[in-house]
Every structure is written in C-alpha cells, then in structure tokens.
C-alpha cells in the first residue's frame, strides 16, 4: 500500500479553461485514498498552474479529516502562485468536518511545525558537562544520605525494615547460589585444566591445587561473584527504583513521611553487604571442587593430597581479605544500583538506560576497587 506503483484507484476529473480549473472528485476521501490523491493530483495542478481552482465535492461519498488534508494540500499548491481556491457542492456532513478542523482558518493554525531542537556540538558539550556536574553533586549527596540513613538505623534499630531486608537477602543471596556455584565449579575446572597442561611438564601436578585455591580465594572468587551479583541484583535494584520513580511511588513515600533512602536503599545495602561475602565463600569452595575433579581424574592425584595442598597454600588472611573485598563490592553494587534508579527521569526507556548503566558502572567500580585493594595489599602486607 505504500509503494506508489500499487496506489489504490482513485477517480477525479479536471475540466475548465487554463485560468480557471474545476476539479471533480469522486468516492470516499479517507485515510486509504488521501495519500494517492495528494501524490497524483497535486503534481497535475502544479503543471497546469490555473489562476483559480474550484473543487467540486458533489460526488464525494465520504469525507473525513484525511479528505480535508487533500483540500489543504491543494489550496497550499495554488496559493504558491497566488491562485484562487474555492469549494463547490459541499454536503452537510462534509461541512461539519471541514469546520471542525478549522479549514478556513487553517493558515492561522498553520504555525511552523515545531521540530525536535538539535543543538550544535558546543551546546551539547556544555550541557553534558552540566549534566555530569549535577550527577556528581547528586552522587555525593546520595553517599551522605545513605550514610545518614545508616546512622539513623544504627541508632534506631527498630526502624530497619527487617522483612524487606530478609526478602532481599533471599533474592540476592540464596537465589543466586545455584548460578554462582555452577560458574565457579566450571571456572575451577577450566583453571585446573589449563594449568595442568603446563605444570605436568615439570611434574609439578600437585601445584594445581595451590594455583586454583590461591587465585580463586584472593582474586577471581570475589570478582566473579560480584559480577554475577551486579548482573542479577544491581540491575534489578535500578529497574525497581526507576519504575517506582516514574510512577510517582517515590514521591508518595516521601509525602507519607518516609525517607526513600532509608525505606528502599538500606535493606538492599544490608542484603548485599552480607550476602556477597557468603556467596564468595561458596564460589571459592565450588571452584576448588572443580579443581579437585580435574586433579583426581586427569592428574592422578589423590583427593587427600589435593585437599592437603590446598590447606597448606591458603592462609587465613587470604580468606579474610577476599571476604572484606567482596563486602565492599556488595556495597558498591547496591549503592550504584539504587543511585541509577533514583536518577531515572521520564519514561520506560530511561529505566532501561538506568539498568544498563547500573551493571556497567558496578562492574567498572568492582574492577577499580579491586586494583586499589591490590595496591593497598602490596604496600601494607
């Protein structure tokens, strides 16, 4: 229907002298015929350039505002050369339609069509800068607000929404366990497999256990877990709060006298700060199990020897360090997820952006803070 080759058939007739043309239109002038009429008749009128154009609507069976649109386009065409324009034999219903869309006064209505305003590079650069500055201001303010809420909850433990907190612990911790376990097990398997190929050449099979356990407990366990949690829960937090924001639920909470931060953010932060370290421990364990499987079935190690070597390698401090790190990661994920949610403005698309940005920023922050931890450990430990 859109291609000009199969325009639906329309009927029209142009009569009269050069200086005064009469256009007879037939049939229905509605949404399905208006396009063809404009495409066919307007060029014809342009060719003839009549001094006056009279449109005869006698044979028009139906006319709606799409029909009026045809008339508007015709009139626009003849006024290009200051030609006259008039209608003839307008039926009662058509008259009503024509007056309802203000056909006669259409020039007044015909204000310039306001297009989306597209500013130049410098303006956009400046706007982006202001936006980022306000983002940073908000970010700092949000840190303060979360901190104050925590202080308040510490002083008034009863004000903590305990049910919510436990629910979030379940959603972010317990429900995430299967996927964390599976991925860690496979990671352990892969790591053991890859290192075995190299270490076997030196007859150093047993050090596979050291490598897997140390790498997982110190670095990969916390990071892997945090990334999974960022994808599962950080995004969920941003989407939940963002949707609440655009449906004015946050405003409602505020006017009911609740502090939105205390109501929404504190339970989530507590849930993640407590759950991510526990998930990390599980992740370490499952990775070692993966390494054990490779050690026993491929490298002819006994399970006993593998476990003993693992215990010999790991210091309590390593486990503790991983634990602390993942607590911090949990804090970052919850914080950035909620922050992005609160920054949502407008509609559904904005919620999508907030969700994406929550995941991307938390992964960035996880890696960044992990490097900071490494530096601290280097100079301190």
């Amino acid at each position: 229907m859109k291609a000009s080759s199969d325009l639906p058939s329309i009927r029209y007739e142009i009569s009269g002298e050069d200086d005064g043309a009469i256009l007879h239109l037939y049939g229905a002038m509605d949404a399905s015929s208006a396009g063809s009429m404009i495409r066919k008749i307007v060029p014809l009128i342009k060719d003839r350039r009549p001094a006056t154009l009279e449109v005869d609507l006698e044979k028009v069976s139906y006319l709606d505002d799409f029909g009026v649109l045809v008339l508007v386009e015709l009139r626009k065409t003849v006024t290009q050369w200051k030609g006259g324009f008039s209608l003839k034999n307008v039926g009662d219903e058509a008259k009503e339609t024509i007056s309802a869309v203000h056909f006669d006064a259409f020039e007044e209505v015909d204000l310039p069509f306001v297009r989306k305003y597209r500013p130049n590079v410098f303006i956009r650069l400046g706007e982006a800068m202001f936006r980022h500055i306000s983002d940073i201001k908000y970010l700092v303010g949000f840190i303060g607000s979360v901190f104050l809420s925590f202080l308040y909850v510490c002083l008034h433990p009863k004000s903590l929404r305990a049910d919510d907190t436990i629910l979030y612990m379940q959603k972010t911790g317990v429900d995430a366990l299967p996927i964390v376990a599976l991925i860690s097990f496979l990671m352990g398997l892969i790591m053991a497999f890859m290192s075995a190929v190299q270490l076997e050449q030196f007859g150093a099979n047993i050090y596979v256990a050291s490598l897997v356990s140390l790498a997982m407990v110190r670095e990969l366990g916390p990071i892997m877990t945090a990334i999974i949690v960022a994808g599962r829960s950080g995004s969920a937090f941003a989407a939940e709060i963002g949707t609440m924001k655009i449906s004015e639920e946050i405003d409602a909470l505020f006017t009911m006298g609740f502090d939105p931060t205390r109501f929404l953010v504190v339970p989530k932060v507590i849930a993640l700060v407590s759950m991510v370290p526990i998930l990390t421990l599980f992740s370490d364990l499952f990775a070692m199990a993966g390494g054990l499987v490779v050690g026993v079935f491929m490298l002819d190690l006994t399970a006993n020897a593998y476990i003993e070597q693992t215990i010999k390698t790991l210091k309590l401090f390593d486990v503790f360090w991983g634990f602390v790190k993942s607590g911090v990661f949990g804090l970052l994920i919850a914080w950035i997820g909620c922050l992005r949610g609160f920054r949502v403005r407008g509609g559904a698309a904005s919620v999508g952006e907030a969700t994406t940005s929550a995941v991307v920023s938390s992964i960035f922050l996880i890696i960044l803070s992990d490097s900071l931890f490494s530096v601290i450990l280097r100079y301190w430990g």
């Binding site: 208006a34 799409f66 386009e73 339609t97 309802a100 209505v109 204000l111 407008g346 904005s350």
Partner: protein, 255 residues
C-alpha cells in the same frame, strides 16, 4: 428500529484467575451510537472493555465486533478488528520514547501512503482537534496528565476508526477541556458516524453525549440498568442508579 448491532456481547464471563469479575453479561452496541459504560470503581468496566477489544480472552461467552468473532482467538481476525478500532487507555499509553508528533504519526505512517509533509500537516490537524498545537516535540513525560490524555485521544482517532473506545476520557481534565472533549465526541459521531464506547463517571458528560448507557455493579457482577440516560435519571427504580443520576436530590432527601 432496523439499527444494526456493531458490537454484540453474549453471555460473557470474565475471570482473573479464579476471581469472577463479570457474570453472564449480554448487551449490544448499535452502529453510530454513543454508548456509555457506568459503574463504581473496581466493578469491571476496564475489564469489560479489554475483553471487547480483544486484549483478554473471555472465560466463556461470545463477543463479535463488526461481524468478527473476537473471542475466536484468530490472529488474522484480531488484526482486522484492530484496524477498525481506536482505543484511549486509562493512562493514555503514549510511547515514552517518542515525541507527541511521532506518537500520532506512528499509525498514520504505517497504514496510509501520505507523503511526509502531508503527514506533518495531518499530525498538526489532529493535535489541533485536541488543542495541543505547539507541543509536537514534547515527550509524553514532559506533559501533564490531562495533556497526555488528549494526545492519547488524538492518537486513538488518528485513522478515523469505525469504533472508538475511551477509558475514562475526562479523568484528569479540567471542566472546560472536558466539555470540549464532549463536543468533539458528539461531532465525530455525527460527522463521521463513529461508534463510541465510553467508560466514564462524569454525569454532565454522560447526559451531554450518551445515547444509551449500561450500568455495572460489583455485587451482582453484571448489568443493573440499561437504557437512555434521561429515562434512567427520571424513572429508574433501582436506588443505586437513582442516586447516581440524582446525587444532589438524594442528598437533600437525606438531609
């Protein structure tokens, strides 16, 4: 009268899960009629409307719209029916990522072969009908609720459908705009012969536009009154209907 029913609902049962919302509801809407659905909030007006426009399949019963059985679940039937109807949702349901002009141009671009400049003119004519000229480039989130409602109306009638459905069109509109909307409804009905199915509570607007009304009730889960509004206002025996149409008189009687 030899008027043709354009929508006919027979023995409709509507359920959400196990919860029965409507039971054995039957009525007809005639061609070129302004038909109003009334009832207290939560009695199932929006639910009934969603059944008629094919968004929800009925638990049992038959609904035909312009000769097509909408409860038959056939994709092609639904598509054909969708071309004939326009719907104004309770929350306007404009697409948030598009400007007003793009929202309204969306169905026009899809279903007609107008040249681009003519589409712009058309969009402006539609916006003019609902008094929103000058807001073409606004995003829905930058408008007030009533403005969004009017824009939703402009989109619903973009292709001049045969049947228009309105879910509480005047909620969120000021009285002046609301009465202008009534005029627009009456005008579209007269000039284009559009059938209108309207869910509304506004008594003045009902008396101004409705040809016929039905009133739903939560307790009986069905229709408690059907007829012309003037008739129901003066002669209905049902106390609830009476109170709805004569709120002030009843108040005085109580006082």
């Amino acid at each position: 009268m030899e008027r043709q029913p354009i929508i006919s609902v027979k023995d409709l049962v509507a359920k959400y899960g196990e919860e029965v919302i409507l039971e054995h509801v039957s009525f007809d809407v005639y061609d070129r009629e302004i038909f109003v659905i009334l009832g207290g909030s939560g009695c199932g007006k929006s639910t009934l409307m969603k059944h008629i426009i094919g968004l929800i399949q009925p638990d049992s019963g038959r609904i035909t719209v312009d000769g097509d059985d909408i409860s038959s679940c056939e994709e092609t039937t639904l598509q054909r029916v969708f071309r004939k109807i326009g719907v104004l949702y309770q929350s306007a349901a404009l697409l948030g990522s598009m400007t007003l002009a793009e929202n309204i141009a969306l169905p026009i671009k899809e279903y007609t072969n107008l040249p681009d400049e003519s589409i712009d003119t058309m969009v402006r004519m539609k916006l003019n009908l609902v008094n929103l000229v000058g807001y073409e480039h606004y995003l829905p989130s930058q408008l007030s609720g009533g403005m969004r409602k009017r824009a939703g109306l402009a989109r619903a009638m973009a292709l001049n459908p045969k049947i228009l459905f309105f879910d509480e069109p005047s909620a969120g509109l000021d009285p002046v705009t609301s009465s202008e909307l009534d005029d627009l409804i009456v005008h579209l009905n007269r000039a284009l012969g559009t059938t209108m199915v309207i869910v509304t509570h506004e008594l003045p607007s009902i008396l101004a536009v409705a040809h016929r009304v039905i009133m739903l009730d939560k307790r009986t889960k069905g229709i408690i009154a059907e007829g012309e509004p003037e008739y129901l206002k003066d002669y209905s025996q049902n106390p609830f209907v009476k109170r709805f149409f004569n709120p002030r008189a009843e108040g005085k009687a109580l006082a």
